[in-house]
């Protein structure tokens, strides 16, 4: 079980399938036995187990530093950092390369994609002590990452997606266009999915400082509908483009979430 199977057919040790010979194919891989039996040239194809280049993009904007229950529930940043570290560990252990980009409105720090155990140490060092601040501009960060990645690979976005959906989706599609495999982990605090409390309250956006006076009881149902609609919009916008979308509830244990995700990927193959 791994984070990924290689999408690229290569000529490695593990046989994959036969196909008809085309001019220009390496003669080394002609299956002579098949030739003897069928009097036709077939070329052996092998599944390449490559050293995958993966890049983890972690959103560290101010909204990520929020927890609906600070005493019992981690912030989205903590959850995202841990998730990024876990994914990096998995990737590195299966011999892939992993890189890291930490961004808010722009890329704040960059760890080039490398393999090896030292890379994990570098990851942890970068992830440790991150603080949520600033506004989010995911699309700019994604486009910048796309420009920095010259070879195709896996791009994993870890964010609460409190961003402009249209621009962000366009940026992610651009990554796909550049032949990257893209995954999106959408972190959602349970307090963001359902409003709690009663009475009037003035809600303040930690990034923009914008305030809104509402009666919680009054808007609770509409809010829930609005959140579900937004999640559905993300889902519908990303999946047709081949972008894997994973909704992550920060109240769920990270291990169980990760195990369920990997099991699902292994089934999909």
């Amino acid at each position: 079980m791994g984070l990924h199977r290689s999408p690229h057919r290569g000529f490695s040790a593990e046989f994959a399938e036969l196909r008809g010979y085309r001019p220009g194919d390496n003669l080394r891989y002609i299956d002579w036995r098949m030739y003897a039996r069928s009097d036709r040239f077939f070329v052996k194809q092998f599944e390449e187990e490559t050293n995958l280049r993966s890049h983890l993009l972690l959103d560290v904007s101010a909204s990520m530093g929020w927890s609906s229950r600070p005493s019992t529930l981690p912030t989205k940043l903590w959850y995202g950092s841990t998730l990024a570290a876990a994914l990096a560990l998995i990737l590195l252990r299966q011999g892939d390369r992993a890189g890291l980009a930490v961004f808010d409105a722009e890329i704040r720090s960059w760890v080039p994609s490398r393999g090896g155990r030292r890379q994990w140490v570098e990851f942890v060092r970068k992830l440790d002590g991150l603080e949520a601040s600033g506004t989010t501009d995911a699309s700019t960060a994604i486009r910048e990452v796309a420009l920095r990645l010259h070879r195709r690979g896996l791009v994993v976005l870890i964010s609460d997606l409190l961003v402009d959906p249209a621009e962000t989706i366009q940026a992610l599609r651009y990554l796909v266009h550049r032949n990257h495999q893209v995954m999106v982990f959408h972190l959602l605090d349970p307090g963001e999915r359902t409003l709690s409390g009663t009475g009037d309250a003035r809600f303040q956006d930690p990034e923009s400082g914008e305030e809104l006076l509402v009666d919680v009881s009054e808007v609770r149902e509409d809010y829930r509908d609005a959140v579900e609609a937004a999640l559905e919009e993300w889902r519908k916008a990303l999946r047709p483009s081949g972008i894997e979308y994973v909704l992550v509830d920060t109240s769920a244990p990270l291990s169980s979430m990760l195990r369920a995700f990997l099991r699902k990927r292994s089934r999909v193959g």
């Binding site: 809600f203 930690p206 809104l212 509402v214 609005a226 937004a230």
Partner: protein, 640 residues
């Protein structure tokens, strides 16, 4: 709208509590950091405005609750009548009598009263019936009106010179209400409450239970000085061509030095000053024969109505008098004195206008003349007098006194009693008997036991007869030796020589019209047709009323004068109610004017309605505060 416990209104101070709480809560509104504001904005684009609106509505509901509690505690009384209540009948007695025309503080007293009348009408519903009863216009018909039309009717009310009587006006108003018989009825008195306007209460009258609301009077003190009485030529009938005097009695305050002016047919007679008692004398010039009118004035003050007093008199030539038969020597002497003074004329060559006799001959001759019958001192001649009287077929006779030793009687009543300078004591008097109790006739003088002493009537043959019940001797009475002898004889002769007409009346009282009267010209020049009428009643204005025949010739002049007020300050409403209560038991002073009007209908306490409203407000407040506008949605909170 009234409150029965005004102190409870202090509870309205509690209005500050919800206002302060509202302001404090606005300050203390919790701010929650919430990153997913974009989702919140998607669902609450208009919500913040609604929340603010709801907070204002909540504040309004809480303030309303405080107000309702305070009003319920204050025992609010509201005019909750209207369309559901049966229409009420209200008669407004408005005092437009003499004193209402006084000018005080630049305005008429009546104007102050009209303001109160309009306030009273403002308390009535559109279906109520209103009668406007002007106390100073007793003959003015009152018809039921709507409150709106009654306002217009009030504009037509003007001060008159009639001495108003509130009890009389109340009786008239109550009769109107009795006839209409509304379920709820009320009388309202709007007056300056002069003492004399409330004096004519008859305690023997049947008590009335209808509610009478007395409006508070304007509280105006008048300065009034008026002409109280005038006596022309000492009370004797004026004779054409003879000079005379006008004795004037000025009433009121500050009499000394008051200037008195006299006029005859618009010509100034002269001016003089009143003495300390208010007496003044003006000369009366020689008058031509016929009707003469004039007036006496003092300087105007607040109350102009009594500053002028009118008079009308007919100056006639001395009448021809003839004595038939033997009469008492004192009577002969008196006639001689009057003749010498030019007050009468005696001539055998001229047909007399007046015949004086003690028996039969005078009653049968000179059918055009008026007969004055003076019984003889000889009792034996009484039967022959009675025989002569019986021939007239009037059924009258003189009957001997039943108790000849009766105590002396005084002459203290009758039409002429006030004109006599001294009191007459009667020791012997026949009883003037009449077979027909309903026979027309008037007692010119009556005795203290009520018997007529001098009676006047017109016989079936059209002859006027004046009959005395006593001989004019010293044994029968002291008249012959008193100062009243000459005036009485002259009064009798004058009355006998002319038509029976009142030369002066009190404003508002009717006067008898002479035969042939076709029109009456009012003091202001308006004419009224009076053909076929026996009396004229439209005498609200002081002045001289001219009675004309169909040839426009003056038949008579009648002077109408007000009775000067005796009080310059009015009663309070409470004092007036006390005076009225022996008869008008439901009289109440309008202490909280005009809210006491129709209090039975409008005096309902609305505490129950207020408490019900309070409950509704509290329910609405609770619902709004807890569930919001969409209270059907209830969402449990996963945590706080």
């Amino acid at each position: 709208m009234t409150v029965l416990t005004p102190l409870a209104l202090l509870g309205l101070v509690a209005l500050a509590i919800p206002i302060l709480l509202h302001l404090l809560r606005r300050q203390e509104k919790r701010t929650v950091v919430f990153p997913a504001l974009r989702y919140l904005k998607r669902s609450t684009r208009e919500h913040a405005r609604i929340v603010r609106l709801r907070q204002l509505v909540l504040l309004a509901l809480r303030l309303t609750a405080v107000v309702l509690i305070a009003l319920a505690g204050a025992r609010l009384v509201l005019p909750v009548g209207g369309s559901d209540d049966p229409p009420a009948g209200v008669a407004i007695v408005i005092d437009n009598g003499l004193t209402s025309g006084a000018i005080v503080g630049g305005g008429r007293v009546l104007d102050s009263l009209l303001v109160r009348a309009r306030q009273a009408l403002g308390r009535m519903g559109p279906r109520d019936q209103v009668w406007i009863v002007p106390a100073g216009s007793p003959l003015r018909p009152a018809v039921p009106l709507s409150p709106n039309r009654a306002v217009a009717e009030l504009e037509r009310v003007e001060p008159t010179d009639v001495p108003s009587s509130i009890p009389a006006a109340l009786s008239r108003a109550a009769s109107l209400l009795d006839a209409a018989a509304p379920e709820l009825r009320e009388l309202i008195v709007i007056s300056d409450l002069r003492s004399e306007a409330l004096e004519s209460i008859d305690p023997s009258e049947q008590p009335r239970s209808v509610r009478v609301v007395i409006a508070p009077p304007p509280g105006i003190s008048l300065t009034s000085r008026g002409v109280g009485e005038i006596i022309i030529s000492g009370g004797l009938a004026p004779r054409a061509g003879e000079p005379g005097t006008i004795q004037v009695k000025v009433l009121g305050g500050d009499l000394l030095g008051a200037t008195v002016r006299g006029y005859v047919t618009q010509s100034l007679l002269g001016a003089t000053l009143a003495d300390v008692d208010g007496n003044a004398v003006l000369p009366l010039p020689r008058l031509p024969a016929g009707w003469v009118e004039g007036r006496v004035e003092v300087e105007p003050d607040d109350l102009r109505g009594d500053d002028v007093r009118y008079f009308a008199l007919e100056a006639i030539p001395p009448p021809f008098v003839r004595v038939l038969g033997s009469v008492a020597p004192f009577l002969e002497e008196a006639l001689a004195v009057l003749e010498e003074a030019g007050r009468i004329r005696r001539s055998d060559a001229v047909t007399p206008q007046v015949v004086m006799t003690s028996g039969g001959p005078g009653l049968e001759g000179y059918p055009e003349a008026t007969v004055i019958v003076v019984p003889s001192e000889e009792a034996a001649l009484l039967p022959s007098l009675n025989q002569a009287l019986s021939r007239l077929r009037d059924g009258r006779s003189l009957q001997p006194e039943r108790n000849p030793n009766a105590t002396e009687l005084g002459v203290n009543g009758g039409l002429l009693a006030g004109l006599l300078p001294s009191r007459i004591e009667v020791r012997q008097a026949y009883t003037i008997a009449s077979a027909d109790e309903d026979a027309a006739g008037s007692a010119l003088l009556t005795l203290s036991d009520g018997r007529p002493w001098i009676t006047e009537w017109v016989s079936d043959s059209g002859r006027r007869i004046i009959l005395l019940a006593s001989p004019l001797g010293l044994e029968a009475s002291n008249l012959a030796s008193s100062a009243s002898m000459l005036p009485l004889i002259e009064l009798l002769v004058t009355r006998a020589s002319g038509p029976i007409l009142e030369g002066e009346i009190v404003t508002g009282q009717p006067f008898t019209l002479p035969d042939g009267a076709a029109t009456v010209s009012l003091p202001e020049g308006i004419r009224r047709q009076v053909e076929g009428r026996r009396s004229f009643r439209e005498t609200e204005r002081s002045g001289v009323y001219r009675v004309l025949d169909d040839q426009e010739q003056v038949l008579a002049l009648v002077a109408a004068n007000p009775v000067p007020p005796t009080s310059t300050s009015g009663l309070t409403a409470a004092e007036a109610a006390t005076r009225l209560r022996p008869v008008w038991q439901g009289a109440v002073e309008g202490e909280r004017w005009p809210t006491t009007i129709l209090q039975e209908r409008r005096g309902r306490e609305v505490a129950h309605a207020l408490l019900l409203g309070l409950i509704l407000v509290l329910v609405a407040e609770s619902w709004l505060a807890s569930a919001g506008f969409r209270g059907s949605r209830s969402e449990e909170s996963p945590g706080s």
